[in-house]
Amino acid sequence: MANDIPTKATLTPFDRPNSYVGRNLSRPGARRAVAGRGTYTDDVVLPRMLHGACVRSPYAHAKIVRIDTTAARKAPGVALVMTGAELAKRCTAPWMGTLKVFEGMKSAPQYPMAVDRACWQGEPVVFIAARTRAEAEDAAELVEVAWEELPVVAEKKTALDPKTPVLHASLGDNLAFRKLIDTGDVEAAFKAADHVIEETFEFGRHTAVSLEPRSMIADWNPANERLAVYISNQVPHMMQYLFSRTLGVPEHNVRVVSHDVGGSFGMKIHSYGDEVAACAASMMLGRPVKFIADRLESFLTDIHARENTVRAKIGFNKDGTITAFDIDDLSGIGAYSQYPRTSVFEANQILNITAGPYKHPNYRARATVVYMNKVPTSQYRAVGHPIGITVAEALVDRAAETLGMDPVEIRRRNVMEDNSYPRLTGSGIKVLDLSHQACLEKLVRLMDYDALRAEQALLRNKGIWRGIGIAAFIKGTAPGPQGLYGAGGAPIAAQDACTIKLEPSGNVICAVGVSEQGQGVDTVMQQIAATGLGVPFESVRVISGDTETTPYGGGTYASRATAIGGEATYQAARKLRAEILVIAGALLQSDPKVLDIRNGVVVDAANGTLRIPLSEIGRIGHFQLGELPNDVQPTLSVTHRYRLLDLPYIFTNGIHGAYVEVDVDTGFIRHLKHWVVEDCGRIINPQLADEQVRGGAVQGLGGALYEHCIYDENAQLQNGTLADYIIPMAVEMPDIVVDHVQTPTGQSELGAKGAGESGTGAAPGVIMGAVNDALRPFGARVTIQPMTPEVVLQALGKL
């Protein structure tokens, strides 16, 4: 059951007086950033460092006939000009973006830079290292590439037509992957249903747009044959593997460091050819090479996401009972499946999570994933969820409309009951500890739903068209090794680890495999470690983002840092606490069981009497070991690893509400207010959790309202600048009210689930629901994202 307000009966170790769990502590990293003292990768300067720039394919598909680098090599400041073919020779093997779990999936081998053919506009072709970035760019302009244009696959809908050229001949066609989930009997359910409604939805390709572009410095030291890579990234250990495996440097000789990361959102967990090229250049030159993508390069080469068309059907009865969902997704990915996570995750997640909150016994979901001459798509915040949630919630709204039922009421009748877990979703996934009913009722109260409806009705009489949206969701967070990682064969850790040490001073060093990009991971780990150990928050220092100093872990992706890394940290702290109590027991001639650590001091558990401070334990444990009996050998250092058992994900749930106003003459949508109630289990730092939800929601709203990578029929990107690709600005976004229901997961002692994507997943669905609610009096309906004014006016029949 939802465990919202802890009562005396439910007091946990986290309610101890010196617990930092559930408290708002501000981030030490934030203090540096506001003073302009952040250390982003581009802020780092190494001795004798060179700067990289790329020549990129101007065509979506073209053969490289010849590359003449003569003039470029002679240009001022140039140290190296390297073609794709030259880089390929230095690579151990091409990348192959397939995973075992995606049965039947096909992809073509891919080298970091194009060798004899470029398959998307922006694919790197030549890498140049020079004294300055400007000189590298000057030299890039002197490279002459003779191109022979090839036919382009620009449209996903016709990618499988026999007339369409095949992108990779070895694959036989442009199909990357197909999957079908079929539970119950969908056809029979549709036959038996009182109503069946079908609708088709379009989702425009968009991308992450971290404000700091991809940035890195490769530093090869020929003297000891070690490669250090400073990179703006979320997954240092995966990158260590990637550079090692691609360039043949033993893994333990590759160090990956991520200093401050200026935004990432899933975009910085992938392989990028220019980054490998910079490493190779450094190895060839024996000098550091910096590569910073500019904004155009970012638009052209960062992974994109969500180019989907979904045909969907819902069957339901007069009483509002939903009996079946049927969805058919077509995903247009890029020219290759992105190594090593693949480009079919998004489609796979759509099948997994669509209509996940509901009890329908019949579910059929199909995905068809096709290659096109565009930059690869891959995981971007909330992978697949924005699409699946939009589709299901729009159908539920249509069902409600058909029946003249309130959108809240139809959801009330169909969401899984809070006391019904464990159970399976329609897609066959096991879910536990969810709270749809509690979240729904909380949202209704928070929105003051009835008053909003009354206001809406009143304003309609005045020709003001407002709409209310409701969108429920489930979100897969914190993947386990049984899921797509680990079992899938990707070299990406689903476990995570913490090494915690008591220093001679009595202070604590806590090194974690999860990483920080501003969410507050370090602060949350600090709170958890301090709580688990019983020491003041300030006495703990967290180290993350460096393969040299942190235990092997997966880094930060898929809302896993707190749920997985946090539990590892908590258990590591508990183990260190136990060891400290044994040492204290030996020194004090007490039974460790009657001792506790509070506020950095070993005390009598019964009455809190101070016995010995941790600074004494630290001093004796490191220097004065003679004071200890021979059978007590302190390690004062513990590593603990944690992984999810028996589950592919820890699913979370929640619900969004939105209130919008649509100008039916201009098609403009004004987003007035947004509400989110979500259940990420036990919350460590409420403020940080809320801000994850808010930021995530705005990112989802961006994709739903404005963001679109627009390609022409030759697969040329039309809007590769921030002037043309629109992301949300402050004035367009509403205040966002966030609340929670806390149902701790039973999978860990800490009980935390993921929070980082709960805002993003349902935001597009809820805003589409609200817009369609506003348009309802006109009999108009929007089914296309982004919902630009043009799309709205088209829906109204005005364009």
Partner: protein, 161 residues
């Protein structure tokens, strides 16, 4: 293009007089970051859109990526480092930290330089007006709500409200 044409400039940066020979094609933020190692000003687009490069030049907030270093000859430039050292926005910075009005922090220096301008005016502003004022500064992480909160709190405190 072989012509790395350079010229001599003299300017004041964060109260310090600086004389340097600069490449004429170099923009102000590249100069500040590269030559003076003032890495607090960031580059998010180099197109004049995102505001990450905002600095104060002769009292006015400008996009440092749209101004050449040579154009700053004789000017008085203040960056986030300067605003920090003088303490002019210490209250705002503290409010940002306390309200968690930043995540990755890449936008924060530019955002603070812009918000400092609003505070300087010392006039009451609604949330809507604050949002409007900050709309030339993109933030991809926070969703803006917390930033508006932090600016609003600081403004109200300064106005004694």
């Amino acid at each position: 293009m072989t012509g790395e044409e350079t010229t001599e400039i003299t300017l004041t940066v964060n109260g310090e007089r600086i004389a340097r020979r600069v490449r004429v094609r170099e923009h102000l933020v590249d100069f500040l970051r590269g030559e003076l190692q003032l890495t607090g000003s960031h580059l998010g687009c180099e197109h004049g859109i995102c505001g990450a490069c905002s600095v104060r030049v002769d009292g006015v907030v400008v996009r440092g990526c749209l101004m050449l270093a040579v154009q700053a000859d004789g000017a008085e430039v203040t960056t986030i480092e300067g605003l920090t050292d003088t303490g002019e926005i210490a209250d705002l910075q503290a409010a940002f930290v306390e309200r968690n009005a930043l995540q990755c922090g890449f936008c924060s220096p530019g955002m603070l330089v812009t918000a400092a301008d609003l505070l300087k005016a010392a006039k009451p502003a609604t949330r809507e007006e604050i949002r409007n004022f900050l709309s030339g500064n993109f933030c991809r992480c926070t969703g803006y709500h917390a930033i508006v909160d932090a600016v609003e709190t600081t403004l109200n405190k300064r106005l004694g409200r």
